[in-house]
């Protein structure tokens, strides 16, 4: 009897959750579907859902007309570069805070967090001016550095929360066996820290890929990543839904896939370890 009730409840839960889930996912699904339609089908009334002549034409048009690959490449370089650079700088910092904590460690961590809270628009002009002076405007190097800096607090925090979970006894044991600081870091801590570092890389790559304040304001043509490329569709000419959809699908597909792997880290990374 009890089992039957649970089974019925489970069915209701399933139906409800799937309905809501599909509703929330629908804009993405619709974008993906539209990317395979012709422009005329894309605006058909009533809308066509699945039964249309699927075409890959939009993808080749987007690539030919706007050199999509260049934007994609910029996104990869900027997001990847800023993330790797950030992790290289953050690993030693997070490391020392986790294993050699001092009275000021907590203050330093909180202060780092506070720099993340700085509204970008408040420093827009100074950065813009510095970029002009240093010849960094519309360069991948400039954007990589800025995105590294805005994500550095999150990277330090994520790594810190991962490192803190590594038991200190292991270090002591290694030291007793005669390991120096270098051996300790290379052979004992690094293997244990790899999953944490990987998660940090993943989440920050996603954040950098989707960043849309500095990428829109500090680039023009050369260094513009996908966020800026998509923004160029805000003043369209003629029918463009299918092309917009194809461009959007290409811009979000890699991140959607990476994102699915990073659900857990997302919570840890964006709540600074306050919710686990």
């Amino acid at each position: 009897m009890a089992r039957a009730v649970t089974q019925k409840r489970k069915m209701i839960n399933t139906a409800l959750a799937w309905t809501i889930g599909l509703l929330i996912f629908f804009p993405i699904l619709w974008t993906i579907l539209t990317s395979f339609k012709t422009e005329a089908t894309a605006i058909a009334d009533p809308p066509v859902f699945l039964f249309f002549d699927w075409t890959l034409e939009n993808y080749s048009v987007v690539q030919e007309r706007s050199n999509y690959m260049q934007f994609l490449w910029n996104s990869i370089i900027i997001a990847g570069g800023s993330t790797i650079l950030g992790v290289i700088i953050a690993v030693p910092a997070a490391w020392s805070m986790a294993f050699v904590p001092s009275r000021r460690t907590k203050d330093i961590l909180l202060w780092m967090l506070s720099t993340k809270m700085l509204p970008a628009v408040g420093v827009l002009y100074p950065i813009y001016l510095l970029f002009i002076e240093l010849g960094l405007l519309d360069t991948r190097v400039g954007l990589t550095v800025v995105l590294m800096l805005i994500n550095l607090p999150i990277i330090v925090w994520m790594l810190y929360t991962y490192f803190r979970e590594i038991p200190g006894e292991i270090l002591e044991a290694a030291r007793m066996d005669g390991a120096g600081l270098r051996e300790e870091i290379l052979y004992v801590l690094t293997p244990m820290a790899v999953p944490g570092i990987a998660s940090t890389l993943l989440l920050n790559f996603i954040l950098a890929w989707n960043e849309a304040f500095w990428t829109l304001n500090l680039t023009a043509a050369k260094a513009a990543p996908l966020t800026a490329f998509i923004a160029s569709y805000s003043s369209p000419e003629g029918l463009f839904y299918a092309k917009l959809s194809a461009a959007s699908t290409m811009a979000i597909a890699p991140i959607l896939i990476l994102g699915w792997f990073s659900q857990k880290q997302l919570v840890r990374g964006l709540t600074f370890g306050a919710v686990k």
Binding site: P46, L113, P119, V121, V123, Y125, L130, N210, L270
Partner: protein
């Protein structure tokens, strides 16, 4: 001896990150502060000297200021209410036993990974367009006149777009918090005959209080700064000019750097007020 050695090594290891962030914070902020006390128009005469607090006064007395505060409050407030309320409900639902839970979770979380320019443009064109958008088709199907979303209901439209982006974040964090709830406590309450609503009100909600606070604070900081969603949809027209967008327009569009910088300082102060509360919670968690 060893500890002294490792202490100085630790300081050295921390130095690059600390110095970079210190520079990143101090240099531009000092410049903004400096410009905010100047009459500075790069395209029209450049630096025209010190003006004291004139920019600060002009920023808050301009006709655009209060509407922008109002737009900001409406957007941030509505998105917070929507994402937290639906986030709690959705998290409760996703915590229940069901088939395909993992897939539903992925479907719900997906919007968070869509870049802001894509989500704004997809909503603007394919859903909210008064001629070809899906909403227009839907309205016509029911015999109603299509709404010109981004001009007639501009704030509502922005709230819909931004809520869609942030609902996954709230849901995911609240779901994580619910899953850490001791299920024995709930079972005990159920056995004692507590109806679902009081189980929710007296056990689940108090347990979620901290997670909700964190969601509210983090989202507030990000929502105060939303930019791309307005940049590619209304460009700040139809009453959607938020404080962030107003400052952006002052600085880069009308190139009134002094005035924009004063606005920037206001934005920094505002964000800091929110940040203080957030850091208290996070700091407490560090001690534990």
């Amino acid at each position: 001896m060893a500890t002294k050695h490792s202490r100085s090594a630790a300081r050295l290891m921390m130095a690059p990150a600390v110095i970079l962030l210190l520079g990143w914070m101090l240099v531009p902020l000092t410049m903004t502060l400096y410009f905010s006390f100047k009459r500075y128009l790069p395209m029209r005469g450049g630096d025209q000297g010190w003006v004291g607090f004139e920019n600060y006064v002009r920023f808050v007395t301009s006709t655009a200021f209060w509407p922008s505060v109002q737009a900001t409050l409406i957007i941030v407030g509505s998105v917070l209410v929507i994402t937290v309320a639906f986030g709690v409900l959705l998290a409760l639902l996703l915590d229940q036993p069901m088939w395909g839970q993992g897939i539903v979770r992925i479907l719900v979380i997906a919007p968070f990974f869509v870049m802001p320019t894509v989500s704004a443009l997809v909503w603007k064109n394919m859903f909210m367009d008064p001629v070809n958008g899906l909403f227009a088709h839907l309205w016509k199907f029911f015999g109603a006149a299509p709404i010109e979303w981004l001009s007639q209901a501009s704030l509502t439209s922005i709230v819909i777009i931004v809520s869609w982006q942030w609902l996954p974040f709230a849901t995911l964090i609240l779901l994580t918090a619910i899953q850490s709830l001791d299920s024995e406590q709930l079972e005990a309450a159920e056995m004692d005959g507590a109806p679902p609503l009081s189980r929710f009100g007296f056990i689940i909600l108090p347990h979620l209080a901290r997670a909700i606070t964190i969601v509210v604070l983090i989202q507030t900081i990000f929502l105060l700064a939303i930019f791309a969603e307005i940049f590619v949809t209304t460009q700040g027209s139809f009453g959607t000019r938020t404080l962030t967008y107003l400052i952006y327009q002052r600085v880069l569009e009308s190139q009134n750097v002094g005035l924009g910088s004063a606005g920037g300082i206001y934005a920094v102060i505002l964000a800091n007020i929110v940040a203080i509360f957030l850091m208290r919670i996070v700091g407490k968690n560090l001690d534990a």
